[in-house]
């Protein structure tokens, strides 16, 4: 994977300069995701984009910008582990949808970094609801490999992708089987052949072609087969998940992550033992396909009890418009048996762990990147909302195209023509 900006280094580089800025967030219930646990009333001190102090009585330096949480909640930013933010503006308009490339000859080599648009309007609408970090996934096209994903923040800044080539995504569910020619056997044969191509890269390509992949796609898969970049497999059926576990065992040090996982709870102990994380939606409870007959609201709690590393998604909503509903999905996990702290961790620190950035993101602790959200209540309650969203130490704008539309039409009786209200 390529870390584009080492954020802590960038922050330190600025310290001690005229740009030094302190933000003190005070007077709230602090959720740290560390051994400090919940601090009933406390705050967080941010300096130059980095958290420097967390506690019941933080030191507020002279000249610091103070944000009063007014008894609300102070938490790490929400990390959405499966999104297509920045790839889609209007899903059905192909001219605005860069998630998939079914007409392309390439697959693994497709890199979302070239499609991602930080000016997409849903960066702001998601930021406003407390989403600060996300993983961006391509969609599958002509074969079961969708391509390479990245990690971003919701600032909307030009450099908001802070890591690229973070993972490769492939569909091994029934839809992947269909893409591969019509059966699971075909899908796994293709996957195994692709692995062979990547292992034999570049030698095999100097004298001929690959069994499954072209030269560029094989090159892009090399870091996966060598265990440097995780492979995220979309699978739902328990038998497919067992097959994925076997793939990981047979190809050590391959790292795999399960996405979907409708029936993952059935093989929870195996997943825990293999150390394979699951990205799943706790609100998914319908037997939507014959792959997902075991879907249940109990799944999140069962996986949690089995000791599986679980990060929550908004799979049943969507990935480009409504990752912002992630706190609601986590709240429903709580309603269905997951302890609050575990459910909240599943949308903050756990996804950071899954993507290997938990040393910088997902917690409120000294040295962490300052992604801090202030809420007017319990963040997992549907009626709560952020009052401040701090990303990389910047207190961000909480307006969007949607709030502008709202404000334009808020007073229907105002005599100013609608087109001049702006």
């Amino acid at each position: 994977m390529k870390m584009l900006v080492t954020l802590i280094t960038a922050g330190l580089a600025l310290s001690g300069t005229a740009l030094a800025q302190d933000i003190a967030v005070i007077n709230g219930r602090v959720i740290t995701n560390t051994a400090q646990g919940q601090i009933e009333t406390g705050g967080v001190l941010v300096r130059d984009g980095v958290i420097v102090e967390v506690g019941a009585n933080i030191t507020v330096p002279d000249g610091a910008t103070t944000i009063d949480a007014n008894g609300g909640w102070i938490t790490p930013g929400i990390f959405a582990p499966f999104t297509q933010l920045g790839l889609i503006e209007v899903a059905l308009e192909s001219s605005t949808n860069d998630a998939g490339a079914s007409e392309s000859d390439f697959s693994v080599a497709l890199d979302v970094v070239d499609s991602f648009n930080p000016n997409g309007t849903y960066l702001a609408t998601n930021r406003m609801e407390g989403i600060t970090r996300f993983a961006v996934f391509p969609s599958t096209g002509h074969n079961l490999f969708a391509g390479q994903g990245a990690l971003g923040n919701t600032s909307g800044n030009a450099d908001s992708l802070f890591e690229t080539q973070s993972f490769v995504y492939a569909d091994l569910s029934q839809s992947g089987a269909s893409t591969a020619g019509g059966s699971r056997s075909a899908a796994w044969a293709f996957l195994e052949a692709a692995f062979g191509d990547a292992r034999a890269y570049p030698g095999r390509y100097s004298s001929g072609s690959g069994d499954a992949l072209n030269r560029y796609d094989a090159a892009a898969l090399v870091d996966v087969v060598r265990g440097r970049t995780p492979l995220i497999l979309q699978v739902d059926r328990a038998s497919d998940i067992r097959r994925a576990i076997r793939l990981a065992e047979d190809n050590a040090p391959l790292q795999i992550i399960i996405y979907g996982g409708a029936e993952a709870w059935i093989v929870g102990e195996d997943l825990a033992e293999a150390g394979i994380p699951v990205l799943m939606d706790p609100m998914r409870n319908l037997p939507s396909s014959f792959d997902a007959l075991g879907s249940t609201l109990e799944a999140a709690a069962r996986l949690n009890d089995a000791g599986v590393s679980v990060a929550y998604t908004t799979q049943t909503a969507d990935g480009y418009f409504n990752p912002r509903l992630l706190p609601q999905h986590a709240g429903n996990a709580v309603t269905n048996g997951v302890p609050w702290a575990d459910a909240f961790r599943a949308i903050t620190l756990t996804p950071a762990e899954v993507f290997g950035v938990d040393d910088q993101l997902g917690a409120l602790a000294p040295g962490y990147i300052a992604d801090v959200v202030v809420w007017d209540g319990d963040p997992l309650e549907v009626m709560s909302a952020p009052t401040h969203v701090i990303i990389d130490g910047e207190d961000t704008d909480l307006t969007s195209r949607q709030t502008r539309l709202r404000d334009r039409y808020a007073d229907i009786e105002d005599t100013t023509p609608f087109g001049y209200r702006h």
């Binding site: 609100m283 409870n285 319908l286 037997p287 939507s288 014959f290 949607q402 808020a410």
Partner: protein, 473 residues
Amino acid sequence: MSLDWKSWVAGLAASALVACSGGDGSDEAADNDTGNGEAEVVRYDLDPYPSTYQPLPSETTFITGATIFDGVGGEIENGDILVVDGRIAAIGQGLEAPEGAVIVDAAGRYITPGVIDIHSHLGDYPSPGVDAHSDGNELTQPNTAEVWAEHSVWPQDPGFARALAGGVTTLHVLPGSGNLFGGRGITLRNVPSRTVQGMKFPEAPYTLKMACGENPSRVYGNRGTSPATDMGNMAGYRAAWIRASDYRDSWNDYWEDPENNSAPTRDLELDTLMGVLEGQILVQMHCYRADQMAQVIDMSREFGYQVTTFHHAVEAYKIPDLLQEADICAAVWADWGGFKMEAYDTIRENLPLVHANGGCAMIHSDDALGIQRLNQEVAKALADGRRMGLDISDAEAVAWFTSNPARGLGILDETGSLEVGKRADIVIWSAHPFSTYAQADNVYIDGALLFDRENGLQPVSDFDLGQIGEGDD
């Protein structure tokens, strides 16, 4: 506008020329000689697939000590409800339980009317989503007013039981939105049944699903047939209303003077459109954009019919005054958008803004998952409305998933609120229904306890039986 389905039957009978249908299926009888020299007047059955719904057995039930939202703006602290013979017999504070009543202690809990979803495809697009079950959109021509959603409903859709666990007691199943005229919708009680007839809400009016905008023009435009544009959509509706008006006139001429007029040839498509023109079938119209809704309002005036509810209506907030003037409700999501161009101007405050401007607004799901937590969807919309300064009480907002959809379906005199005499469709919630952590504990339909979380009482569909997911919610 009369919303009573029975009145059409009665109205026709009152013409003294149409014998009340015996419902024997012997419709479309051509004029024939009865043998005694008098021509028999052609008639047809308006209810050939009648409801066979029977409430499940219920007991006299006294629910006590709850915070009650009555669904029509009232909130009763420490309130009691008495259910007798499946109907609400009393509601208020300090009521006495009659001898022998089942007592349900709801202290610390909350009660609302049963949740009503005005926009569902359960049964028509059931789980699992296999090809054989894709029964919601008759995409063979742009006007399929002749199809009836009830004829596609698979009663074993596991989604019904999941919706019941979310407090849903009544739902309206619609055809999809790929056609200008999608067909008739049907209002169902959310009860397990072998047949759809066993779920049909007795005497609920039929509805007609129509659709604006991108869906029909995309489906047919891609085939190189009309409609391919918004103007093609409008032309398609208008041409159909002209034919329907002629059809209605032909029947009325015939019924008024059968000796000098012949009966029109029966036409299923035009039967439904005529029902709309007669004010007996309620139009439920899928429209997103404000300007398109305004066009449809003009069209309804051109042909003399009423649109009951605009569904999705993501831009209803731009025209609350037009909707109010036309007496049209808006059934909306809390926060869906972005999936197509006509959904681009979605805002989270749509529902509360329409409400606060005096309009009739409600939540809807259009989704087998969303239907399970319409209370949460309302909570989000309410919170967003308050955050922009709108003053809306919890009790008012409860109407968004209870009495307002009942109004939109023409069944408000039977359900949708907790008022004496109405069907005892009741949800006891574990916590305030606007909390993420609230669950439906008990769900009653016509006073019968159909779901009881604590005691594990829940229906299991035939499909779920013996599968991995059996019994899980």
